[in-house]
Assembly symmetry: C3
Homo-oligomer: 495 residues x 3
């Protein structure tokens, strides 16, 4: 089975480094004088290959970026750009479509409105699949481009950084994430990657309702050991533009001590960690994002939006900040920064080509970037292959589509927390189920202590008591503390 | 004038063989180890050429398949994929569009909702034209892929078949055609080709209303000498999954004896033919098709559909059947056959690439496949170029479109039957007209005996008596037996 | 900043000649035997390059023509053909889109419904931009193809013409422009080019309401010194198919004498000019155009249209006329001319490929066509960069779009006439403003004599008195002759 890129966690740190080293080489070889971020010309590195771009949602920038990258490598492109694929209109399933298209192409790039769609494509295709955005879920190549841009910036900041690893570079980074942090797969993918590499993250939502959703904060803590530190907990001398900073401490915290319903605990910092925070006076990068109006309800009204422009950047912490933006912008980013050397968002867009070239070369096994490296995700959490009970509650998940259910069973990762949590293997939405044992069907529990008593082969999960009863399992035990985490992407934080 | 492929009959048996031999060579050279059905890599065989894909109806699979094939040959592609071409919206005729596009490309692949549209394109373009589906009329490259898949299967079945001609291979084939046989250009094109090559065809419609339409059955008999044999007429020992089998007898039947209003006659088999039927216990191929819901009226209600799955294939005649499907499937084909070696529909889709590569090479005269070979259709029936009288009655025919009538005259093939029948040279729909003689305008007739008395240059056809009178030809003679064959594709069998 | 082609005036005569010489070479090298107008095959002249086609309005012919041209040059193509670009739907500005796409491609071809959009693209892109049609404004590559076709025809007419310059060839040309001269960027671009090269133009509008609009006639006179000569002013012996002929006299007229409100004056011809007109008995070229129904109001009713067919061409002046048409045609051009050697509109379409190949080679600096040559437009009229006052009145102008106003200021060319006129630097629409002086804000004037008294740095323009007052400038002087030229493209001539 070929390697694919569906979520940023599909690649290990070493793999991301290897892809970036390849992108470096492409830029060294192809960039025109004075524009080291730009790819010009075409090579003969992939003349044997054909890329298929399947876009079930329209896109100009992302699709053209991939197609340009493939042409620059010497390959060919076939494209279904229309956002409304004909076979899909005829009722064809995703699994069937990719099993036909993989006969025509050597690599598939897919964008789809359903969350988890790219995972299905990767599971069924005989060729590598790249997720170019699946609903509100992930957009990992945007994150790769962002990381690459951050890496370039950190290297330029200090000549001594030239040989540092991505982890070392980003560990020294202080980045403000501004705008709409609630919606938008782009900024979610990015914040997970930033946490994973240990950056200091300062959230600056456009308004309270645009802050990170609960599920993102839970995942930051659980998967990446990244916790909020409030202003009041900061050591003296640390000035911050926001009330909260996310911090990945050197020493892993005891996850079992962490309680999801008390997420707002301040992280207790060690002396060493406190010292490291004292230096934060400058923000290295200001990452602005667009209000995802098309993903909001029509009646959500108008929103006051902070505008990042020359005036805004005169504030002390931002004087030396590079300004990034995934584009397209609307009103949140002033055009007066376009000619300011701090505004690097068009270079950020330009890096999309070398990074995607490198990614495709790696996935097509034309470059050794992925040889032997292990996925960041592999084996992290055990998988529960559902046999008739529990389903993903995300209505936009690929596993919730009636047509796809012809061949597709729900699949969940099991995570231990204060309560047992199931995470959908397709869309990463989470739920806290009823847990029962085949061996003793009359009991049920939701807490970690008791579910650990059940043998793996006896595990049974149900959405709720009704579902358990319908399946012939009468819940009896009363030790119920049924905790329901917020569904990802619903947009309402329980605060 | 360049050769084109509009209907499967545009190619002779020898030409189809030559195209398949070319496809064999491509697979031999390009297929990766262990996947002899798959084309990988790109060659430099057509680097000088450009393919234009003009899709007035959206399509993913067919368009991408052609484009991939051209890229694999080394050529370039320009594409109008949007199903709603701008020039067409501005009122441009098909003839004009292709006469502009043939300046930009060396080969045109066209899909169009009007029946006969591809014929117009081929008539006017200076470059070869391939019909990728014209309304409910034909889809000959799908049929080529199906025939190629059948050929591979028959060869694999028996090592002695390796050197057999397509005709010899298919003459030994027993194939079930299942599902929606009423609608769908794909299965109609296929059944004509199967009849032409002498296969034994077992129709298994999803329901009575999905059986082959009258015009298909008429054409099977008239053009391909292929007649139904009912179960009761079969020799002892022949077990069949359906009530009817279509049979192409060794010895041509006397067509003039055949009466279209008595189509359900049983074919009388010779001893030799009866012997050949005795062996039919196994079905070689089970060809399933999709219910063409998008071509049905919205209010046609739900349909009970037989599902072909592992369970279904446990029936005795199907135990060794290969299962084919033109895809996309909806519910009629179980996903449990995907991993069954009998399910070869994804390989069938894969064969689309080498077959289309070979076809394009042949039409662009880069390979000698078509040199000197004669079309199967050429000269079969004389043509009547209408001069003001009769028109095609198919409202979806290209010759019935007001815009196209600016340059286009109806053109009919004259066929002798019990009644004189005219077949539209564009869409193949048939009608039985009034026949009159210029030399003696006061008489009219519809029967073959009398129309043969008229000299070719005196022939006059009219749709009916009213039309004749309006043209100043008063019908007088009373020997009227005006027979109206069902219009093709209307979907209502007069049974 | 790279050279672009937004309006035909962006290229000097020498540059157009150089592009045509390049197109000649491509045809010499690539045309198949017997078809000297046709490009076949592919070369390796631009293998390093990628073309991006951005079509915000759908188009088959123009887009495919460019893409074919690039493939014939050996380059690659990425395309956004869908007429409704996704980034645009997300609120992205044109300036941002092209600054991303110029990272992916080496050349951008853009079609857009807003007038002036291509100018914005050219202003912001780091790569050359070609205007493939911006609203009702310009379509300069169509004009290049038309000029090239005219040049071929004039050369074929007389062997002595082989070495003549385009200017000398077209100066001898008599051309009828027929059909819809009111709407349609194509015929407007063409008539300006014809005037610039000194051709004799005979307008033959389908009806009075389809005659050239006022602004075109004004510009013909002002920019190209091209005036109407009525039939009654013609010398004896000159027979014309229409009442008016446009004439570019040898000796420049005194522009300051020309009054825009008396546009219908007859030009006074010199003896030499009169002699040159005596010879006009034959029309060299009959250029038919389509009624732009899609640009008309829905309730404009039906129009009687003259049909150019074999019968029509039997009229004496047209017996030797070549017939051209930009296509698509509807009813205005008979299909019976298709097989007439005078009908050269499909060759005209074919020339689109070599001309666009040459143009792209020149703009990408792969051929020396543009080296050192000066634009025809450069420095023609001074520019007034608006600082808060006057705006373009064309609602379809790119500078009138709220989204684009985030970064875009109105910009006007100042032209001296009887009244001061401002021409929008984006869409070329004109208006006659109030003129005031910073030094003496209490006066205002619109006539040329008085505005010349104002120093350039003191110039202030306002749309009208209200706008002046709102800006704190009270108009007092009473010498008001406020003339309002017709807005371009509104379609109503004040006659």
């Amino acid at each position: 089975m070929p390697r694919s890129l569906v979520t940023i966690d599909d690649f290990s740190n070493a793999e991301i480094e290897a892809v970036f080293a390849l992108a470096d080489r492409f830029l060294t070889e192809m960039a025109p004088p004075g524009k080291p971020w730009l790819i010009r010309g075409r090579k003969s590195w992939a003349t044997d290959k054909i890329l298929a771009t399947l876009f079930y949602e329209p896109s100009t920038r992302t699709r053209l970026s991939f197609e340009s990258a493939m042409l620059r490598l010497g390959g060919g492109v076939i494209s279904a750009p229309d956002g409304n694929l004909s076979s899909s209109a005829k009722g064809e399933t995703l699994a069937d479509t990719v099993r036909v298209v993989d006969k025509y192409a050597d690599l598939i790039v897919i964008r789809h409105p359903w969350e988890g769609a790219a995972r299905i494509a990767a599971d069924f295709a005989d060729v590598p699949v790249i997720n170019a955005g699946d609903g509100a879920h992930e957009h990992p190549t945007q994150t790769l481009c962002d990381l690459y841009t951050l890496r370039v910036g950190q290297r330029e900041k200090n000549p001594q950084n030239a040989d540092k690893s991505l982890k070392d570079l980003l560990h020294d980074l202080t980045i403000v994430l501004c705008g709409d942090l609630q919606h938008g797969r782009t900024v979610h993918s990015l914040v997970f990657a930033l946490a994973r590499f240990g950056a200091r993250i300062i959230p600056l939502p456009a308004a309270d309702e645009f802050d990170f959703p609960e599920h993102v904060r839970r995942r930051l803590a659980r998967d990446y050991n990244c916790f909020p530190v409030g202003k009041k907990d900061l050591p003296e001398g640390a000035t911050l533009p926001a009330d909260v900073l996310y911090f990945t401490p050197e020493k892993p915290h005891q996850l079992s001590l962490w309680q999801p319903d008390r997420l707002d605990i301040s992280l207790r910092l060690t002396k060493k960690e406190q010292r490291s925070l004292k230096g934060i006076k400058d923000v290295d990068v200001f990452y602005a994002t667009r209000l995802q109006l098309e993903r909001k309800d029509a009646d959500s009204g108008t929103v006051e939006y902070p505008i990042v422009d020359s005036q805004f950047l005169k504030q002390k912490p931002y004087r030396h900040s590079r300004v990034m933006h995934p584009l397209p912008r609307v009103d949140e980013l002033g055009y007066d920064i376009d000619r300011d050397s701090r505004g690097i968002y068009f270079q950020q867009a330009a890096y999309g080509v070398p990074v995607r070239m490198a990614l495709m070369m790696a996935l097509m096994e034309l470059a050794p970037a992925l040889e032997g490296a292990e996925s960041a995700k592999a084996g992290k959490y055990p998988v529960y292959q559902n046999v008739g009970g529990i389903e993903c509650r995300n209505r936009n998940c690929v596993s919730a589509q009636p047509g796809e259910r012809r061949y597709l069973q729900p699949r969940m990762h099991i995570m231990e927390e204060f309560h047992v949590t199931l995470r959908c293997a397709y869309c990463d939405h989470e739920q806290s189920p009823l847990v029962m044992s085949r061996a003793s069907t009359k009991k049920y529990r939701t807490d970690v202590e008791s579910w650990r008593e059940i043998r793996a082969e006896d595990l049974l999960f149900f959405a709720d008591e009704t579902a358990a009863r319908q399946a012939g399992h009468e819940p009896r035990k009363t030790r119920v503390r049924h905790h329901e985490p917020e569904a990802a992407g619903t947009g309402a934080s329980p605060r």
